[in-house]
């Protein structure tokens, strides 16, 4: 049997932009869906950064792009014709935008009765903040991440990036797949109202339950061991690597056998066999002293070598990877072929984020370089919508498309 990608034959009309929406459609594109970005062509530098490389290149690879001007009636009509030939319509605008274009779910069911529409707005389509503008960092601040992710001095730091967009992205892709399943079973499409804010609230459940049930305020200390007590546990500074003194090891020791393995691995120093560290209870009680001992050891060791030594003894340890460790020095990701190569138009090679799972009976995902805005006009307008060259020229002259 010829193996085919799971989503081959599924077409997605993709109105998303910035990050969260494109992450969702990246996941669908990697599994074989034909994702067509409907985009504006803006002269001059793109505020989102370079198009084919960096973050935008990473999250928009393997998609197609058609340049349609949604500010014109003819542009909207073209988009509706594309919807008629699509399975899924997805956007991450605030609630009012698609409606203004007449592209809301109700209207689109008249174009295609079993269409699946997914809106990934910041706050959802209902409620007092339905039309608020939001960004990943503002959502993370609202959802409790920024305050709880504090330095040891208690200063809020939060994420250095927008996890909100990644969580919104994987939630959006999953919702699309649930809806495809439902359509396969019932023949019916539907509208999915996803809130990126709620995508964050949905991944801090234990803290929210603790507050709602035990009526407790959360603090950075209280949320620092979400997987239960462990000691030693945390990140410990390691020896410098050449000029780089920002090297750290993450370490977690829970069970008695893990503690014994840890003590063995570091050569059974005298402090480690003292009675005050003999049980998890005592190690938790004497954590400050324990951490000082552990960090004295890690400071004398290279983070990678310490990780390998501890792992040989069965201890959960891993270096705190920076960009180079992650992308250029991770033998596990290399061995599994995680990073995917794409070829840029100038012939140079770039590696992009891969797919975090393998399917035993599907072809390995391959990535295509991110298209520039309108690169696939010929394919989308010509092959998919069947417009002649003359019709397209007329639409361009009328300002409905950019060629």
């Amino acid at each position: 049997m010829q193996r085919r990608a799971p989503l081959e034959g599924v077409r997605v009309a993709d109105f998303t932009w910035v990050v969260a929406g494109p992450v969702a459609t990246r996941i669908l594109a990697d599994q074989g869906a034909e994702v067509i970005k409907i985009e504006r062509k803006i002269e001059g530098a793109d505020a989102l950064g370079p198009r084919r490389t960096g973050l935008q290149g990473d999250i928009n690879r393997s998609k197609r792009s058609v340049a349609i001007n949604m500010a014109t009636a003819q542009g909207v009509e073209l988009a509706r014709r594309l919807v008629a030939k699509s399975d899924i319509v997805i956007d991450n605008f605030s609630a009012r935008v698609m409606k203004q274009w007449g592209m809301d779910y109700e209207s689109l069911t008249r174009v295609k009765s079993d269409i699946i529409c997914i809106s990934m707005s910041g706050f959802g389509h209902s409620g007092p903040r339905a039309n608020y503008v939001s960004y990943g960092p503002t959502l993370q601040a609202l959802a409790g991440f920024t305050l709880m992710m504090a330095s040891r001095r208690g200063e809020p730091a939060g994420y250095g990036y927008s996890y909100a967009d990644m969580a919104g992205g994987y939630s959006g892709a999953l919702a699309a797949l649930f809806a495809l399943w439902h359509r396969k079973k019932t023949g019916r499409g539907q509208f999915i109202d996803l809130s990126q804010f709620e995508s964050l609230a949905a991944v801090i459940g234990p803290a929210l339950l603790d507050s709602s049930v035990n009526e407790r305020s959360q603090s950075p200390q209280a949320t620092s061991m979400p997987e239960g007590p462990a000691a030693p546990h945390g990140v410990y500074r390691c020896r410098s690597l050449a000029e780089d003194d920002d090297r750290w090891l993450a370490l977690s020791v829970r069970t008695h056998s893990e503690w014994r393995a840890f003590v063995n691995a570091i050569g059974s120093p005298a402090w480690a066999v003292e009675p005050k560290f003999a049980s998890l209870f005592l190690r938790m009680r004497n954590r400050t002293e324990l951490d000082a001992h552990v960090e004295r050891w890690t400071r004398a060791h290279d983070a990678v070598k310490a990780m390998e030594l501890l792992q040989r003894h069965g201890v959960a340890a891993g270096l705190v990877a920076n960009g180079a460790d992650l992308c250029a020095r991770n033998p596990q990701l290399e061995a599994r072929g995680f990073w995917m190569p794409v070829t840029l138009p100038d012939g140079s090679a770039l590696r992009v984020t891969g797919v975090p799972f393998r399917l035993s009976d599907a072809p390995l995902p391959k990535a295509r370089c991110t298209p520039d805005v309108g690169d696939d006009n010929d394919y989308v307008l010509g092959e998919v919508l069947g417009l002649t060259r003359g019709e397209r020229d007329a639409l361009a002259a009328a300002g409905a498309i950019w060629q």
């Binding site: 209902s126 200063e155 960009g323």
Partner: protein, 398 residues
């Protein structure tokens, strides 16, 4: 009808992947949590109800196991494996998070299960995946966030990296596990056969970091920690009189500067060059230092109310518990009450981040007590008699 009505999932996972099955259960699948006779490991993880540790009082367990049924089965016992194989014969999905190789050793490997039920999808979620030199490495969520690049860039430059709130390596693995499983199920509807899904939590974690890999891969830049300054340089935390706010310099610059200038705090920001977004980006540290001085005398809610009125996307830096009273979440009924008859209490749970128009019928079942559904599952699904159930119980299999 719920979106996944009729789908049967056997959930053999521990805490590392417990969220995956819940994503299916929340959409109406029948998810059977298969626990060892002394309970899933997550029942021993806090917080606990009223801070009293007990396997039927773990809020951690409840969070991840709402809407599932519980079946106890001893998989170190031959009869336990046989019963599981029988259940797998009629299931759509098995999710597991054992150490790689364990399932094969006990006769539940992909080859065995596929022979038994060719349409079954097996989803294996492990820290590093089923292959590669780190396959047998040990890891918890902290170690995976570290290795996956999720924490190096969080925190202040001279201090230790800061881990996320919540188990976000596990959660990324669980979401990608559910995504992969749905892909395999959709392919099964077309091709007629199931597949083995191999999810690496390390890879899922690396996929859930925004800028670290693209910056390195495209520009050779190793991104650093910058305190609360977001890598795009448009956001930083500022301190008010009674709390923190998230500054945002995207949005309507003119309104913001007029306001700041009206308070006599604008310094050089009234210059026309600051209207340029990229100019603001390049001078972000100076810009936020000025804005920090400006917000200091304000009360947080007073500042945010005015920002909202001007459509300036500032946000409150809230504590998680503030979400319980958040008017947006309340309006959308994000939280819902679950009755716990065994406690005589109703508890308030967080919900799912999406509303499906055609499949509103959520059937919510409180998290199961240990082994609560063992009898009904073995009786109804496998036709075991009361005597047989009693014998299994005496043998310690269930």
């Amino acid at each position: 009808m719920s979106a996944l009505a009729g789908l049967r999932v056997l959930d053999l996972t521990d805490r590392r992947a417990a969220l995956c099955g819940k994503l299916f259960a929340d959409m109406g699948a029948d998810v059977i949590l298969v626990e060892p006779p002394d309970g899933a490991d997550s029942r021993r993880i806090g917080p606990f109800l009223d801070d009293r540790p007990h396997r039927d009082r773990s809020l951690f367990f409840w969070n991840y196991n709402l809407n599932k049924r519980s079946l106890t089965l001893d998989l170190s016992h031959e009869r336990g494996i046989e019963l599981l194989r029988s259940l797998a014969g009629s299931a759509d999905v098995v999710i597991e998070s054992f150490a790689p190789g364990y399932m094969e050793r006990v006769g539940l490997g992909w080859a065995d299960l596929h022979r038994l039920n060719p349409s079954l999808v097996l989803c294996s979620i492990s820290p590093f995946g089923q292959s590669g030199p780190w396959r047998d490495y040990k890891a918890d969520d902290l170690v995976l966030t570290a290795l996956g690049g999720m924490i190096y860039v969080n925190g202040f430059p001279e201090e230790a990296p800061v881990r996320p709130l919540g188990l976000q390596a596990y959660h990324s693995g669980a979401y990608y596990g559910a995504i992969a499983t749905m892909c395999a199920l959709l392919a099964r509807e077309r091709d007629g056969v199931g597949q083995w899904v191999d999810v690496s939590i390390l890879e899922a974690t690396a996929s859930a970091v925004e800028h670290v890999a693209p910056s390195y891969m495209s520009d050779g830049v190793v991104q650093q920690r910058r305190g609360s300054l977001h890598w795009t340089r448009y956001f930083r935390v500022g301190r008010c009189r009674d709390g923190y706010v998230m500054h945002c310099t995207l949005g309507d610059w003119t309104s913001l500067v007029e306001w700041v200038a009206g308070d006599g705090a604008a310094q050089e920001l009234t210059g026309p060059q600051w209207e340029e977004v990229t100019y603001r980006k390049e001078r972000a540290e100076r810009l936020f230092d000025i804005l920090d001085q400006w917000v200091r005398p304000y009360f947080r809610d007073e500042l945010l109310a005015r920002a909202q009125a001007l459509r300036i996307p500032y946000a409150s830096v809230q504590a998680p518990e503030e979400l319980l009273d958040d008017e947006q979440l309340l309006s959308r009924r994000f939280f819902f009450e679950v009755e716990h008859p065994e406690l005589g209490r109703k508890l308030r749970y967080p919900g799912a981040p999406y509303m499906f128009s055609a499949t509103a019928g959520k059937v919510y079942r409180r998290p199961p007590l240990l082994g609560e559904h063992t009898g009904e599952i073995l009786r109804d699904e496998l036709g075991l008699s009361p005597d047989e159930l009693a014998a299994l119980s005496v043998q310690g299999v269930i």
